[in-house]
Symmetry: C2
Subunit: 700 residues, 2 copies
């Protein structure tokens, strides 16, 4: 019966959409994805009737406070939308007793964004220790209601597990986004500070709704001029706009700025003039932005300047900048370093450089460590630095933008990838989540000028999942997906859970498509779009896919055991012991740590070569199944977004075939093996795949 | 009384906007400008009552024809919106007699888009000679209704004056738009052909609404790979989507493509293998896109390859490619050429190269000539080629994107600029409009990924004006502005005409700000943002502002009389004679053609120096007045767009001061003159202005 009513509703919606979007001119409410998970589609059935009875009359002792006003407006607006009632609540009710109470300075609740939701008589009360907690509480309440829960049943208390929940934008001041696949930067530096794009408010609102509280506005490959007064004025406009949403602004700082723009002859961190320059620069920021978050620094990595240029350590550099900020802010220092000098194994360098510095970093320095030891590959083992620096605050860096996982094609959910690393036992003081909890999580943003923010609609779910996991890393990826789908696409259980199930397997499909069994870094040069395992002629060894797969006639994989680079020794002994043996290692890491023969016998009973070919084929079948499943969801999803996702999946299928065929053609050229019986031959020869060029591929 | 009712309506709208945009979550219908001039805001007062009485029941003998369906849907949708009735017309009325009849194959009407609108009894009939004429007719009808005219009073017949009404996109395949100030390209080559962005339909609809019928999808500085099959498939998807809207797709073709991608050793147009390659390439295009428009070519200009590389003429090159297309399409060959070799005067080169070729171009070649002889400066005299090639089809190239007129800041209407050149008497066979009428008009598009398409809301009006003038160059810029403002901002006469009046003077303000009295090319190097009259060290002489202004202690201006470069001799004798004399020339061209002393006595009675300083100051005052005027329009315009335009104007004022102060500081450094009494001194010294850098300025 629910289903029948839903279908009638759907038909009405489709009819309206037909008139609005096709028959008529501009649509009244295009489902273009701009609203993200904050659509607040009207409830249906009993849930609707229940909420209809509750007029959204809100009371708060903090009238006029900008943050509490945001909480209040969001609550009223969200409730009205869920109730299917456009416009304000019934004004006749304003004299009545409030149904919702926002108490945002409650001594019972900790500061830092914590809140509780409870029933007090007939009213729902949100308590928070500080004002932003009321914003978080309102979003939690609306999320529960949006999933169909009854107001009477909603009682919860929530506190953020991690203090820093931040996005890192790799956005350049000219609007180009490095590894951005959703158009241009959302930041309009050209027109700031005079003109503030509406997106800057909607962006803050979306972030606040999932608890994100910090934003680094520019690329870690930073331009020094963004520290100049002209840019501080632009950043001030952003910070002022974001402050009521609980978001602090951070800036990526180029380490050589004292030389680049400061007129100094050096950027040596131990030079007093350099320290004074940074101190004055920090003062300039704080004069404009009293809650300025601090500096993110990529130093001595991929050509960026750093303290090692002067024979100083990362700690020397970070501590000098941290002293400039003082207790006003934080230096976040990236551990993603690799240099040509280390000839043995790129995966080892960060650990080698940083672990000896444990305990030497200042109180307000955080070291930012990527989830794995290479670079955001579809699957990496957790980074060995986690657990190895007990006296240093470590923040976990994840990549929300899918540089290596299909960019902005297909539908790929990264929640499973992130819960995998967060749940990884380091063998040295707990899981990765436990180790980074005192610091936080940073995600490389996937936003852009695309109307739906993220290029594909499903990529919105990755932004959402990042925020939710940073708030509470114990959430399951499945629960997060369920929340997101309910708010974004469809609330009804059966179709919702079909989407959730396909999301849950989607990242594994990417691995099967590109880098099964611990392979890594097989993508094309530069734009990183598509397969290129054959590339072996780039000037630095570790830039080449062949450096990573090491395939030859005998076998494939990178020997990181004691007989090879011994990167395994960077892990806790019991973990290293388990992974050191090809017989006991989880096969998902096999070729990451071992060079094995093509005929290596897998747990399946087949050879590695057979399983490799099978993996590619399996991925293709899975995507086909996902396409068919998506087609069947047409009755539940608006035509505009349904069509867009169907196009994304069609592209993903083509790309999966391309990865499969190009990879197999290349491996065969190396190992000379015949295809396993029944396996389809690649559509073209290897030369064809090597010749493909994609000058339009974005994000380089 | 109208005013009172309007204000009540406005208050209701403001209240709704407050709730939708501020109080609540996502707005129901954000006024973000995406709908362009196709907003169809509900009518008010009597006009609303009149139209409410007319149910939009439409009859046509062409049911199912894609183009006529578009006309019908647009008519029904537009009428319903104007009537303030969301959704479809009353279904009970479907059996009744139609109130609107679309007859789209009428033998009474010429083909090419012509239409008539008349009353037949109680019905309104649109007649067209071919189907697209019904789309144009519907838009004309809605435009009239949208301006408040009564249905009974609307009777008109309209035929396009020019056959080709086209946009040229300087969009690169990687999404960067050369001289684009509204974000990234609207064309998503990466995801085409599988994914068609909704914008591609809305773009076609907007173009069709103003009669645009051709689109060149890529930059004239073309990449050869866009002629490869992979791209033809992408273009086919676009062409298929645009066909029902009457839009033909053209491509910019790199002249050296036979060498670049064809494997030939030469691109010599007289080489039979080259001709055969282009013939086969054209066949490939027509196999995919039967109505493919043809090739736009920038040859032997700014480093682009061309026939002169092989000692051949422009006609040799164009005719060879035209033969490849045959009667299926057109080669459009740009006359914008200049090369280092011509040391005397860049303004002369196009005429010198092309006029001797008059009569030598094939039937399906059109030569595309910019409005003036240099490059889209705020004011140039008309190009001397107009009228000088009676046996060659010439198309007029205008720049809709404001490369040299403020880019995407401020509010600048270019209608007045274009009617100025269209109305210019060439002295050789009529006005520019009359000379290009057999071919058409091409506009360099100002579209981008910005939500409002054009970066500023007012720049939408330039896209609109371009289309309307290409349809009918006899329209006045003021009438076009009135149409556009009615549809876009406000219909009520008094506020509407205040906006129209400020639009009408806005381009003159830009000239006063940047290049008064015939000055030109004073902008910064590269991005062309802001003033840099001091630049004099670029390797090619004609890249330097100093080449154009030739200012020294004695005077300023470029002598193009017989005593100088004699560019004047390229004009018809009576025009040349009038302009040869500083006493008779219109002072708006004075420094374009003459080098005169700073103390040259102007018609105002003051010296040139005094008038120059006064011009800058006047521009600043005008912008201040425009800002105040805009503030007063707040009650009539939605808050979102009102705020955005106010920000644009605030930036324009800052930029006007910058242009004034930097220019005066520089001229004073050259002429050593004191400021006229009462004139404000520049805020900073010249070194300051020379030191400014804007790495974030877009569009280079």
């Amino acid at each position: 019966m629910m289903r029948g009513r839903l279908l009638v509703n759907r038909l009405a919606v489709l009819f309206a959409a037909l008139l609005a979007g096709v028959l008529a001119g501009p649509p009244v409410q295009a489902e273009d994805g701009y609203d993200l998970w904050l659509r607040y589609a009207p409830l249906e059935g009993e849930a609707l009737e229940r909420l209809r009875a509750v007029e959204p009359l809100v009371q708060t002792p903090h009238e006029g406070d900008p943050t509490v006003e945001i909480a209040k407006r969001e609550l009223i607006g969200g409730l009205q939308q869920l109730r299917g009632i456009p416009g304000p609540p019934d004004p006749d009710g304003t004299g009545e007793k409030a149904n919702f109470v926002l108490e945002c300075e409650s001594p019972e609740i900790a500061i830092g964004g914590s809140f509780s939701i409870s029933r007090i008589g007939d009213a729902t009360q949100i308590l928070a220790g500080e004002r932003i907690g009321c914003v978080y509480g309102v979003h939690a309440l609306l999320r529960e209601l949006g999933m169909g829960r009854a107001l009477e049943d909603i009682a919860l208390a929530s506190a953020p597990v991690m203090p820093l929940r931040m996005l890192n934008h790799w956005d350049n001041p000219d609007g180009h986004v490095e590894r951005g696949y959703a158009g241009r930067s959302i930041f309009d530096w050209w027109h700031l500070p005079q003109k503030l794009d509406r997106r800057m408010i909607d962006y803050a609102r979306a972030n606040a709704s999932i608890g994100i509280n910090g934003v680094v506005v520019n690329n870690v490959n930073a331009r020094a001029f963004m520290l100049e007064p002209r840019y501080i004025a632009k950043m001030k406009r952003l910070a002022d706009a974001w402050r009521p949403y609980g978001i602090r602004l951070y800036v990526s700082a180029r380490f050589s700025a004292p030389r680049d723009i400061g007129g100094l002859a050096t950027a040596d961190p131990l030079d007093p003039a350099v320290a004074a320059w940074w101190r004055a620069k920090a003062d300039e920021f704080y004069a404009a932005i009293p809650d300025f978050g601090g500096f993110l620094v990529k130093a001595n990595s991929e050509g960026q300047p750093g303290p090692q240029d002067y024979g100083r350590s990362h700690a020397d550099g970070a501590n000098m900048m941290a002293a400039a900020l003082g207790n006003r802010g934080t230096v976040i220092w990236r551990a993603f370093v690799y240099s040509e000098e280390d000839e043995t194994d790129r995966a080892k360098q960060a650990y080698a450089e940083f672990v000896p510095l444990d305990g030497q970093f200042a109180e307000n320095v955080i070291v930012q460590v990527k989830n794995g030891p290479i670079d955001f590959q579809p699957r990496e083992p957790f980074h060995p630095m986690f657990g190895a620096m007990p006296d240093t605050k470590l923040i976990l860096e994840l990549q929300v933008t899918r540089e290596y996982l299909g960019q902005a094609t297909g539908a790929v959910y990264l929640g499973t990838m992130w819960t995998e690393v967060l749940g990884a036992e380091t063998g040295r003081g707990g899981t990765v989540a436990q180790i980074v909890a005192p610091a936080g999580m940073a995600g490389v943003a996937n936003t852009g000028s695309a109307r739906n923010w993220t290029g594909t609609h499903f990529d919105q779910g990755n932004w959402y999942a990042f925020g939710r996991l940073a708030w509470d890393p114990s959430l399951s990826s499945e629960d997060i997906a369920r929340e997101w789908v309910s708010q974004t696409f469809v609330r009804e259980a059966e179709p919702r859970d079909r989407i959730v199930r396909s999301m849950e397997t989607s990242r594994e499909t990417v691995i099967d498509t590109m880098t099964p069994f611990g392979l890594a870094h097989l993508m094309a040069t530069g734009h990183h779009y598509g397969p290129a395992p054959w590339v072996c002629d780039l000037p630095r060894p570790e830039w080449n896919p062949c450096y990573y797969h090491r395939a030859d006639a005998n076998g494939i994989g990178f020997d990181r055991t004691a007989s090879g680079s011994d990167a395994l020794s960077q892990y806790a002994p019991d973990i290293a012991a388990k992974w050191a043996n090809p017989a006991t290692i989880d096969e998902q890491y096999l070729l990451w740590f071992h060079h094995v023969p093509w005929a290596h016998r897998m747990k399946s009973g087949r050879t590695l070569w057979e399983d490799l070919v099978s993996s590619y084929g399996w991925a293709e079948l899975e995507i086909r199944a996902r396409i068919q499943g998506w087609e069947k969801l047409a009755p539940f999803i608006d035509d505009e977004r349904h069509t867009a996702v169907a196009s994304d999946l069609a592209i993903q299928l083509e790309e999966a075939r391309w990865w499969r065929d190009a990879s197999i053609a290349y491996w065969q050229s190396v190992n000379g093996l015949a295809l396993p019986p029944g396996a389809r031959a690649p559509e073209h020869d290897l030369e064809h795949y090597r010749s493909l060029e994609f000058p339009e591929a974005p994000g380089q």
